[in-house]
Symmetry: C2
């Protein structure tokens, strides 16, 4: 991919017969993913009608099912031939959906994947409670599966996600946040579940510790890259393509790498601008454009994407120990896709 | 206890050397409970400082630790002599604390009415996330304990709690809610965790299914009685004694038995009053007093308490299969205490 000097990044579009890597992964795993989608619908049932209604709303808004795809892919990469991975991919998606529902409350975001967020439609309280239900249901499914090891991995991931989100809360509006702390947030709130999703695939296949750790490493680094790109997109996305508004993080005073990078090398006057807009959240209509201009001046988006590319490369390398084949090469291609998407 | 014709209920106070049953239970379990309190503090640690700070705040405020006491008591009643019950009582308290934190989340509609400051919004965020952390940490502790059966019981209880809370949202402001549906809410949001807390005590002691079920039954019926009394107290508590304001449920338009009982036999004019205040939530300063007067007229609090007493009696009877002794008699006395507290 090419990283332009400006904050808008351009990539060569994939040809018609050369789909993006994530679509290719979904195609490779089509039958497993069908089974997983069926399990998702079947297991979110409840006699309390509002639960499947609200859960369906967010699951239908659906996105790419990246995390369950990772579980299915990791299991196949490890040569697994049973069907436990389908239920565990469902658990991973339920945990992810629960965090999305709780995230919508936390961020008071009005838009999630271009649709009205669940909390805007159903209320904060319903989002919290249905998230709790999905979280608990995920653990019920894991108990049915019967592996304490899997339960341990996903319980730990769930605790780590919450820690990452709380840490994010603690760094909000704080421009003195070191980059390492920002990376702790990213690792917790996003990469921990990517890592666990991949690791669980190796666990069901009963593969040696080294393969399990390699897959966890792949997921971790992929997840960090994914979140770094998300944070760049919040300032640089092609809005028409992504269906998401630019500047949400800015308006919330969220500390992300694009801001930290521009702030680090900013003049005294620029630092006062960041201080007013991010720390004190005193913003006018023109401030986002000025923030974008400062990021362009200092290459803040390019810095963020280059960091993401480095993590993507580490993710790619982590899979080298597995035998070459379509699953490995597609998972490796997903690392590039993650950095290139939606610009 | 005596149920007065009016809505204020009076009981004989316990003598100085005859403590209430819950204090007696805490005394019987003092050393286990010390260990549990230490585990609660030790296991809510996190490198993210805000987590132990907030968790400690709510755990410290946390009252009588009734639920973990039930786990410890059930284990001792079953003759258990190990120490797994301490960690599991900690799990039960973490799950309870998580649900309390999530219960406190303010809805957007309330925010819009201007009741919540920016501070309260920060409280919303922290409440959701620290609740999530405690919930996940509870499952990590269960994985350490290593019993899939315990994991299954508490995962199922957690899902049932969420279902009960969502059902409560769905019945809010709806005076046509049948009493059976109200009991479903009570069973889900409160009694399910009481039942699981007790059952887990029998499971660690590896007792026969019949004893396990008897303890689950005790917890279930005790929990229903407990919540019915809570709902009565919201209209009839001695505010000085309980340190809690009267009328919270009324102001929220919550459907509880005192309201359903008064509404069921109300005149057309009374029904219009309930419809305005509970369904449409159009309330003036005098409305709570009028609601209390209507409840007194129709014995709505007495009806609620008499229902609670019946469940308490069922709870008491469920323990008859266990050998007589101080633990059994104290647990049985707790059923009476539950109905008598704070009037």
């Amino acid at each position: 991919m090419g990283v332009a000097a400006n904050f808008v990044v351009t990539v060569e579009p994939a040809g018609a017969d050369e789909p993006d890597a994530l679509s290719a992964l979904a195609r490779l795993l089509a039958s497993d993913m069908d089974a997983c989608n069926q399990a998702i619908v079947a297991r979110m049932t409840s006699p309390v009608a509002l639960i499947p209604q609200l859960a369906a709303h967010i699951v239908a808004a659906g996105g790419k099912r990246l995390r369950p795809l990772l579980t299915l892919a990791a299991a196949q990469l490890c040569g697994y031939e049973g069907n436990r991975h389908v239920a565990l991919a469902t658990c991973v998606e339920f945990i992810h959906t629960a965090t999305l529902l709780h995230d919508d409350v936390v961020d008071e975001s009005q838009l999630r994947r271009g649709l009205a967020s669940a909390n805007a439609v159903f209320g904060n309280k319903a989002s919290v409670l249905v998230g709790d239900f999905l979280f608990a249901r995920a653990f019920e499914l894991m108990v049915e599966d019967g592996s304490l090891k899997v339960l341990g991995i996903l319980a730990h991931a769930a605790a780590t996600i919450a820690e990452g989100e709380v840490l994010q809360l603690a760094t909000q509006n704080d421009l003195t946040t070191p980059e390492s702390r920002y990376l702790d947030v990213v690792t917790g709130k996003t990469a921990a579940l990517f890592a666990a999703a991949c690791q669980v695939g190796a666990v069901v296949a009963d593969r040696p510790e080294a393969e399990e750790q390699a897959l966890a490493e792949y997921g971790l680094k992929l997840g960090i890259a994914f979140q770094l790109v998300d944070d760049a997109l919040d300032y640089a996305a092609d809005q028409g393509k992504l269906g998401k508004t630019i500047g949400d993080d800015f308006r919330e005073g969220k500390i992300t790498l694009p801001v930290l990078a521009a702030y680090a090398v900013g003049s005294a006057e620029e630092r006062e601008f960041w201080s007013r807009t991010i720390e004190r959240c005193e913003q006018t209509d023109e401030d986002l454009d000025h923030a974008l201009a400062l990021m362009a001046r200092h290459g803040a988006i390019a810095i963020t994407l280059s960091r993401a590319q480095a993590y993507a490369a580490e993710a790619r390398a982590a899979l080298d120990m597995f035998p070459a084949g379509p699953m490995r090469s597609t998972l490796q291609a997903v690392t590039d896709y993650t950095v290139q998407r939606a610009f």
